[in-house]
Symmetry: C2
């Protein structure tokens, strides 16, 4: 039990039921009005998606995105805008990425596929018989004789009956992260997985995977759910082979940056509230929901608070983290630097679940911190946010917990139903982010940071 938060929680509770609540309500209404009537989030996201595009760590686009963000933040007249150097991995999928299934009757079927992030290339065309598993656990239990020399196809589908699509994602995540290692342990030459996407469609979904020391590295790719459904039927008819060429390569780590903007606290500038998302994205689509929407939520929140003349008690700091997708070096570097500078961090918030209609905020903390969060619930009722509960904060802000064990970490919770239509896929483009939904997210972030600042 965290005594500070229990006390704060009681104070918040009491103050809400006196004069504080009505003025806070009026201010929050003005936050939403600003976001919905004069918002910048949608146009900023358009520019990031269309003028820069996808921005994987180490790429030229990632560096342009850093530049874009720095210049954009500068235009808003915050107290300070600066870069924080981060060394990031640099992986590229290269120029070749093709795959065909040769079916038992000799026909060729071209696959919609994407190499998984971090995969090695195939060094020319590789081909081998396919062996299929419908669950990663089945692969783990398989005899070497079944798998050795073959290409493993893991056809484990996201559980469509999970109401939270993130839970469904969590249930499948390991096929992407560990599939290559498990297949290679049994002597497989390569692995293809069913994309971690919810709909049955032609978009492959990439994402990070890893290798382990002492286990051979084998190429790994994701095929579209539609191809996966087709292939699952085809292998029942007879032996199928995969022919695949991936041109992936790894370069030396590259210098990059977190991009940071601050409004200094008027009462205690040394106490910091961090809120952010990640600026990098996968190299397909435009990183519009993941996580262009998240960084725009946070930048717009700070812009709104400044525009409305809000004088924060604590220092409000927006961080556009670099490299969440394949290394989290931005989050790790940021937390380390905060510790080294002897800063005081009192709360952190992350938006990395897409630009959909807001539902609430989660708290990755103890019961007192969750109770503190729940005090905010009534303030958000007019805006249709209702979900204020224990839950994950975010990957980027996660490392703060190591150095600041009592810090409460909050996650913005939008509606999750459409997220895995787009996540890490070519369809994650600006056109698939709804303007109002994005704006309501930005307003919710601004209102939440405002309430945090007032209550802590």
């Amino acid at each position: 039990m965290n005594v500070r938060f229990l006390t704060v929680s009681i104070i918040v509770c009491l103050s809400f039921f006196t004069h504080g609540q009505s003025t806070d309500s009026v201010f929050i209404r003005s936050v939403y009005d600003e976001a919905l009537s004069r918002g910048h989030a949608h146009e900023n996201l358009r520019s990031l998606c269309k003028d820069i595009g996808p921005r994987l760590s180490g790429s030229a686009e990632a560096e342009m995105a850093v530049e874009w963000s720095f210049q954009k933040m500068k235009t808003y007249g915050f107290d300070s805008v600066y870069l924080q150097k981060v060394m990031v991995p640099h992986w590229e999928r290269g120029t070749k990425e093709v795959g065909w299934i040769k079916t038992s009757d000799g026909n060729l079927h071209k696959l919609h596929l994407l190499a998984l992030g971090g995969s090695i290339g195939t060094n020319g065309l590789m081909s081998s018989e396919i062996v299929v598993f419908s669950h990663l656990d089945d692969l783990k239990k398989a005899p070497k004789s079944l798998v050795a020399g073959k290409i493993v196809f893991i056809n484990q589908a996201m559980n469509e009956t999970e109401i939270s699509t993130f839970k469904a994602y969590g249930g499948c995540y390991a096929i992407r992260g560990n599939g290559a290692v498990e297949a290679a342990k049994l002597g497989a030459k390569g692995v293809i997985i069913r994309s971690l996407g919810m709909p049955i469609d032609e978009h492959p979904h990439t994402g990070s995977m890893h290798y382990e020391e002492d286990v051979p590295k084998i190429p790994a790719a994701a095929i579209s759910t539609k191809d996966a459904e087709w292939l699952a039927v085809e292998v029942l008819k007879g032996k199928c082979s995969l022919l695949m060429e991936l041109d992936c390569r790894v370069f030396p780590d590259a210098p990059s940056n977190n991009v940071i903007a601050e409004i200094r606290g008027k009462e205690d500038a040394s106490q910091i509230i961090t809120f952010g998302g990640h600026l990098d994205s996968w190299d397909t689509g435009e990183g519009a929901h993941d996580d262009g929407a998240g960084v725009m939520h946070c930048l717009e929140a700070l812009r709104i608070l400044k525009t409305l003349g809000y004088q924060p008690k604590h220092t409000l700091r927006v961080v556009f983290f670099m490299n969440e997708e394949n290394g989290n070096k931005g989050g790790l570097t940021y937390a380390e630097a905060c510790k080294q500078k002897g800063e005081q961090h009192i709360a952190a918030v992350e938006s990395d679940r897409g630009g959909f209609s807001p539902r609430g905020f989660s708290c990755d903390g103890d019961s007192a911190q969750v109770a503190f969060l729940q005090e905010f619930k009534s303030m958000f009722e007019p805006y249709d946010l209702h979900d204020f509960d224990k839950g994950y904060g975010g990957v980027d802000i996660g490392p703060l917990k190591k150095h600041f064990p009592n810090i409460p970490l909050f996650g913005f919770v939008p509606d999750s139903q459409r997220y895995f239509d787009f996540h890490h896929a070519p369809s994650d483009v600006f056109e698939n982010v709804n303007k109002r939904e994005l704006e309501l997210g930005a307003a919710s972030m601004a209102a939440f940071v405002f309430l945090l600042d007032k209550s802590l």
Copy 2:
């Protein structure tokens, strides 16, 4: 205060906290599983949108939609499937529908426009100077001398700061419904309105308008919000004229049908729960959200309950109403017929707010009925529905209230943020309905009807 509902409410409350709640929860979970894993709603909607298309009352497509629905319902083995004759208005926009603005410097700008439903044609090319009003109230107060002989442009925007887009729609509805009458009273030759759409885009939104006796009938059309924004600037530069041709025409009322399916009640078949949406749509787009999604919610709900072997206490009746959009003859005919047959109607539910992520249900009833509704809230928490409050039922089921004054009318409440991107516009197509969101709506309808049936 409605004593029956107060009593029922208390019983529901008590029974939920004994053994009933857990078995009901298990059943509801199976409802969602069926909808999400083996659902028919998305494929049925695809077929209605693509094999039939838009289906305005009186059109060949509307008749094909009746046939499609009747045949589809027959495949599910319900206790009875039948048609109910309805006479409907028959208006067509014809083959010509064009408009240009001639600006003060003589340039021509082609408009994205749609005649409003019910408008007369222009009888060839009409042209006249534009006079602009930013609110219907300003038009009402204008002197005849300003308006006579001109074409009125009402540029009243939906209020983007309303969190519920339906409230924003309600605030603007009159420019479409009454704009022509108000303009004609002052001698205008025609009227164009800013579309009742939330985004700034190129899609005009049609919808019903009306004329009044003793007021001249003038042509009326909606232009896209993007054109409206442009024109508002252009008229400040100097006189603008509209050149417009509309080919609209009215035909004699046509015979059509409501399409009805029932599962008979096992305890008291004479007591009826109606749930439905409207089968007709505007003649642009595909009527996918409005109200293809609504009829699919209801049909799928009945299919799910039957598939799961549910034996209802009361008769469950799905109605696909005809002609909600421009006359509500289906709703009026249905209610009248129910009365004439001496039926007992204990509740009605409507889905006509799109196929978006479910948020809850509203009740158009007294406080006891609203309290009764609120008892269901906890059952829907696992499915992220939270909005159970007083609110509108629906246009189609509305006339039941006249004949059955104590009937509670319920409306399905999905997230409203994207609805007015598509409503009555060419963009209301199947592709803009998300499969999971549609399925969750159908499951929510099935679960709600199940709880109603058990609790009443």
